[in-house]
């Protein structure tokens, strides 16, 4: 039971996107549609879980001085796996996410968790932490993708909610909409944290 807190930590209290404000680049870039959020979130979660696992397992073998370099090799390995798998099985999603798949390497959430958590913990908590952070990230970017897709395109998960020729607030799927939506989401999150004392 006590292990569960490692998992729930990343979901809300330390949500990587909305509270820690890490991994901002993919959060802003890929959230033009809800489905992209799920795809990007799944890819990041995979890398996060396996890099946390491997780093926690190897923590006694990695010399302290070269630990960052070692972490980057481990992370880059899993990113390459995700990259090749997505290219082969989900070519459409791969084309949409584009450059941001290889850029998972420099997503600060992953290196951040490796440095702050995985290298000091055992394998099981590290996996749970990776899973919680990954799912928290996925939820946050899917939420943001949904908001932008509904407002900007009048649809959710490609299902049209308004008439085909209805006017939508196009700006929300363009770059400015990303910044503004994200700004308001963080503000709401701050407010909720203060209100309910979480």
């Amino acid at each position: 039971m006590s292990q569960l807190k490692y998992f729930t930590n990343g979901l809300f209290k330390e949500n990587p996107s909305l509270v820690l404000v890490l991994g901002t680049c993919p959060t802003l870039a890929v959230t033009t549609a809800a489905i992209n959020g799920i795809g990007m979130g799944a890819a990041t979660t995979f890398v996060l879980v396996f890099s946390n696992l491997l780093i926690a397992a190897l923590k006694n073998l990695i010399p302290n001085k070269v630990r960052i370099a070692a972490f980057i090799v481990i992370i880059a390995t899993f990113v390459t796996i995700v990259d090749l798998v997505m290219k082969a099985f989900t070519p459409d999603l791969y084309a949409t996410l584009g450059i941001f798949i290889p850029l998972i390497v420099v997503n600060c959430i992953i290196l951040g968790r490796a440095e702050a958590f995985a290298q000091k913990s055992n394998v099981i908590p590290a996996i749970l932490d990776g899973l919680g952070m990954g799912i928290g990230f996925t939820l946050a970017i899917t939420l943001m993708g949904s908001i932008r897709e509904i407002l900007g395109n009048g649809s959710i998960f490609n299902i049209k909610l308004v008439a085909e020729d209805a006017n939508t607030i196009l700006i929300f799927i363009l770059p400015p909409g990303a910044f503004i939506t994200y700004g308001y989401l963080i503000a709401i999150m701050n407010r909720m944290k203060k209100r309910y004392n979480i």
Binding site: V21, T24, C25, L28, A29, A69, I72, V73, A76, T77, V79, T80, D83, L84, I99, P102, L103, V105, V106, N107, C108, L111, I171, L174, P175, P176, G177, A178, F179, I180, Y182, G183, Y184, I186, A187, N190, R191
Partner: protein, 190 residues
């Protein structure tokens, strides 16, 4: 003519921060003061141009001849990390005054996803060596431009009242959104 097109596209139309969402972390983190953002910008221009030069050579003379293109991500991130270290050491020895000015920004650049992103993009766009370096420099100047604009606005915001719940990231992101809106006006330029 083509080169001018690349420069305008990279600098204004597809601004790296405001349209392509690369390098958001330093954009939000190091934009409190105009003076520090100039320092950061100069360091990014330097490293980005150099990184594109080296990654181009690696891509076309090592990865492609050996058919190990899938190693691109892992090789490039190492090259960039290594390059930043080398630049830091050389600057410290050869130009101490420049090092004083740029020193603290250099380590931050390894985690700037714009450097890796632009190196990969330049390869994807099949640029030649010269085009690749010019592209990277223009992108980096665009990054600096966005950073300085942002810092200027944030300095003014210090004395302005806005809801306390918007303090910090939310207000910065909304300013960035408005800047990005303004930059969309350049879209018809090329």
């Amino acid at each position: 003519m083509e080169i001018i097109g690349i420069i305008i596209l990279a600098l204004l139309v597809n601004n790296v921060v405001l349209a392509q969402f690369l390098g958001i972390c330093p954009f939000l983190g190091v934009s409190q003061k105009v003076s520090t953002s100039i320092g950061m910008g100069a360091a990014v221009v330097f490293v980005m141009a150099l990184a594109n030069l080296v990654t181009y050579l690696i891509q076309y003379f090592i990865l492609i001849p050996l058919h190990i293109e899938f190693m691109q991500t892992i090789t490039f991130i190492f090259i960039i990390a290594f390059l930043v270290q080398v630049v830091e050491i050389i600057l410290k020895k050869a130009a101490p005054s420049l090092y004083q000015a740029l020193g603290i920004y250099l380590p931050l650049i390894t985690t700037n996803c714009a450097v890796l992103g632009i190196a990969i993009l330049a390869v994807q766009k099949n640029y030649t060596l010269v085009e690749s370096v010019i592209y990277a420099s223009a992108i980096a100047v665009g990054f600096t431009l966005a950073l300085i604009l942002m810092a200027g606005i944030r300095e003014q915001m210090e004395n302005t009242g806005y809801p306390s719940g918007m303090k910090g990231f939310p207000i910065s992101l909304i300013i960035a959104g408005l800047l990005s809106l303004a930059f969309m006006g350049f879209a018809g330029l090329v």
